[in-house]
Amino acid sequence: MPLFDRKDKSRYATFTRRTLMMSGGMTAVLAALGGRLYQLQIRDGAQYMTQAEDNRVNQRLIAPPRGRILDRFGVELANNRRNYRVLLVSEQATNGAEAALDTIGKIIQLSDAQKKRVLHDLAANKKFVPVPVAENLTWDEFARINLHLPYLPGVQPDIGETRSYPFGSELSHLLGYVAPVSPDDKKAGDDDPLLDLPGFRMGKRGIEKQFDEDVRGTAGASRVEVNAYGRVIRELSRDPGVAGKDVYLSIDRELQNFVDQRLGNESAACVIMDAQTGDLLALSSTPGFDPNLFNVGITPDQWHALTSDDHNPLLNKALGGVYPPGSTFKPAVALAAVDAGLSNFQVFCTGSITLGNHEFHCYKKDGHGHVDLHRGIQVSCDVFFYETARQLGIDKIEAAARKLGLGSASGIEIPGERSGFIPSSAWKLATYGIPWQLGETLNTGIGQGYVLVTPLQLCTQVARIASGKAVSPRIAHVVGNALQPRPVADLLPFSDAAFQAVRSGMNAVTNEPGGTAYAWRIAEPGFEMAGKTGTAQVRRISQEEHLAGVKKNDTLPWKLRDHALFIGFAPVANPRYALSIIVEHGANVEHTHVQMARDILLFAQKRDPLKLPTGYPVNAAQAPAKPGARA
C-alpha cells in the first residue's frame, strides 16, 4: 500500500477549501464583535457613560442651617441646637428595615407609631437615602447606639441641627413653629428639593411660616461615589448650600416677657406698638403652647390637651381673634363727630333713650345728666354716643373707623390675621336685602352690633389717634441683611382739633376724677397714660333683666361673662407707646385688665426700648420695595 495516494490529495483539497470557508466565517464573526463594540462604545457611548455615572454617584442633599429669629436687640428668639439622631439606610440594612428597627428598639425607646412612620419614609424614598429613626436623643442614648453600631448594619448616628425656641410658649403665637413637611405643603407648589429630605422641618405658623423661604436657605449637595452595595467610597464635591437668613423683629423680648407674665393665666391678648411708626414691640396671646413640641413630635395626649382647652391656646387672639370693640370704639365715633362739626354737641342722659318701641339703655341706669363730647368719652356715656351716632349716620362712622385701620387686615407679616368687620348701609342692603335700620346705627355707636375688631386693629386705632398718622403694624425689621420696606405713615385726614378733642377725652378717662379708669391711672409724673375702657357683651340681656337689674359678672359662669377691653397710649404729652388689651370674659369691678395695661405701659416707658440702641445688623441695606408693598 502506498504511503500517499489520490485519496489523500482529495481530502487535502477538501480541507483547504473548508478551512478557507471557516476563515471567512471567523472573519465575519470577529468583524461582528468589532461592530458590536462600535455600537456600545461609540454610537451609544454617551448614554452608557451617563448610566455609569449614575451608578457611581449619589447626590445627597445637605440641609442648610435655618436662619435665626431675633428681637430688636439681637436676642435669639428662635435658634438651632445640636440634635443627636439615628438614621437608617434601607439598602444597607442587610436583615431588612423592620429587623433593624426592632434592634434599635431594644437600645432606645421606639414607639410603634415611630416605627410605622420610619417604614413609610423608607418606602417613599430611594434606597440609599438616610431616613431619621429617632431624633433629639440624649447623649446617653446616642452613646449607646454608637456602642452597638457594629451589630446595626445600615444604622447611621448623626449630629444634626434642630430648631429651638428658648422662650417656649411666651412667643409661640408670634414665632409659630416648624414641623415635618406634609403632602399639602408640597401640593402648594413649593418645589424646593429640601422638602423631600427626610426629617426636614418647615415653618408652619407665625414668623416661621411667613419668612420660611428666607430662613430656610438653599439646599446644599454632597456628591459621593458609592460602590455597588451603596457604600460611600469618597466625597466627590460638596456644595454647602446657602444658610438661611436671620430675621430681626421689632419686638422687645423683655417687654414681651413682661406682658406675658402680666396676662398670666387669662385667656387674653395684648399688643404694644410704636405709636409713631407702627413697629410692634410686643404681641402676646395667652395661653400659648410650647412650639418645641411640634418640632420634636407632639404626642396625641399633648395635642388633645391643646385642642380641648377652653382658653384656646392654639389661637393667636391678638390678630386671629375678633371681638365687638364695645366702648373702645367710641373714640372713633367721637373723631367722626368732631370732624363732622359736632364738636359742641350736647346730650342730656337720663339712663336710656327710646327709639320706636325699643329702649336703648345707658350702662348707668340713673343717667349722666348733661354730657358733652369730652365727658362722653370720660364717663363712656352710652346715650351720648347713641345720639351722636344718630346725628352722624352709619356711613360717616364707617368711614372714620376705616381710616383708623378697622374693618380690614393690616397686612402684618404674621399669617392668620383676620380683618374684623365695620358695617355700612350699602353692605346691609346688599347682603340682606333690607335697608339699614336706625337702631343699628345706635348700637354701632357704642361698638356693639355688627362691629368686630382684632386686638391688633384696636392697637392700630389707638396709635393712629395718638400720633395722627396712618401707621400700620410692622414686625419684621431686617431680613438677612436687608432692611424691610416700610410704608410711609401719612397724616390722617382729620383735623388737629378733632384729634385734640378725642385725646383730651381719653386723657380724662384716666387722669380726671370721674373717668372710668381714673382709679387705675399712672400717677407718676411724666408717665401718664390716656385710654379708653370697653366691655363687650357675649350674651343677650333681656328686657326683664334690665328692669330687675343686670346681673353682675362675678355671679355668671366664666363663659358668659363680658370681655374686658382697654386701649391706651403713653406718655400723654408725647405719645410713643400704644396699647390694646383684651381679657376674654374678664370684666370685673376691679378692672384687672386696666391694671394690667397700666403696669405694662409704665414698664414700657421706664424701660423705653425705643430709646435703647438696637441690635439690628449695622450694614443692613434698604431692601427694594416688593411689588404690592403698601406705601
Partner: protein, 384 residues
Amino acid sequence: MIARPYAAARRTLTLVDKMFEINWGLILLITIIACAGFAMLYSVAGGNLSPWADKQIIRFVIGFAILVAVALIDIRVWMSLAYPAYGVSLLLLIGVIVMGHVGLGAQRWITLGPLELQPSELMKISLILALARFLHGQSVEDVSRPLKFLVPVAMIAVPAFLVLIQPNLGTTLIIVADGVSLLFLAGLSWWWIAPAITAIAIAVPTAWKFLLHDYQKRRVLTFLNPDTDALGAGWNITQAKIAIGSGGVTGKGFLQGTQSRLNFLPEKQTDFIWTSFCEEFGFVGATALLLLFAVVIFYGIQIAMSARSQFGRLLAMGITLNFFFYIMINAAMVMGLIPVVGIPMPLLSYGGTAMLSVMFGFGLLMSVHVHRQVEIPRHSAGII
C-alpha cells in the same frame, strides 16, 4: 521565521533545529495578550498584584514552559498519545461526577494531590487530539460512511453529555463546536451536514424543556430582555454593557474603570475581564486587542494549511477553532449578543486550568508548526 530548504526538513530535526523552527512571533503575540490580562487583573484588584495578577503570572510562566516543551515533542508522539489521553479525560469526567466536589453549584473540579483539575478543560484538548487521530485514518469517503461516521459522533457526544450534566453548558457548546468543526474539515458530506442542522433545530427546544437547569433557562430569558429586571437576573448583562459602553472611544484609563472598581461588574476577574478592559481602554484598546486575537487565529490557520499531515492539519485547526470559540462566546456574551453561559476569555481571564490548557493547546499548535514537514501515512498510528 527561518526559511529552511525543503530537503533539510525531511531529516530528523535536532532539538536545536526545532528551537529555531518554533514561531517566536506567535509566542510574542500570545505573551502580549497575556500581559494585557495581567494588567487587567492588577486593575480590577484595585491596583494590586494580589490576589489575582501575581498567581496568573506564575501560571503563565509555567504555561510558557509547557508550550515550548509540547512544541518540541514530535507530533507523531502526540498522535500515539491521543487515544490514551481521551480515555483518561473520559475517566476523569466520570470521576468528577462520582466524587467531584461541588464548586459554584456545579460538579466541575477534581482534586488530584495538590492539583485541582477541571476535567472538562482537559477533555477539550483530548477530544481534538483523538478526533484528529481518528480522522487522519479516514478518506473523504470514509468520513461520511454511516458506520464510520458514528464513531466520531460518539466520541463527541459522550463527553459532551458528561459535561452537560455537570452542568456546564458553555464547555458543552465548545466541545460540540470543536468536534463538529473537525468533522466538517475532514470532509463530512453535505448530505450529513444539512440533516444535522435540521436535527439541531429540533433538539434545541427539546433540550430547553428537559435538559437545561432553571438557572440556565433564566440566563437565556434574561438575556432576551435584560432591562426588565435590571436589579435582578439581568443585572450582569446590564452592568457589563454599561461598563463597555461607558469606555467610549479611548476608555477611562488604566485603573480608572468605575464599574469594575466599585463592584458593579460581576465575576470581574474571570468571565467579565474583557468588560473591564473595554471600560478602561475604550474602543481603540478593545479593537486593538481583538485584532491581536485575529492575528493569532490566522497564524493558526496558516500553520494548519502548511502542515503536510492530515493529523497536523486537523490538530492545528482544532486548537485554533477552540481558541476562536472561546473568544467569540465570551465576547458575545459580555456584550449582550448571546446569553451568559460562563466561558472565560482565553489568556485574559483568571483561572489555572484554563490558562494551562490554553498554553498546552498552543504548544500542540506549535508542535504542528515545528513538524509541519513530517509526513504521516494514513494508516499510521504514531511512533510509540
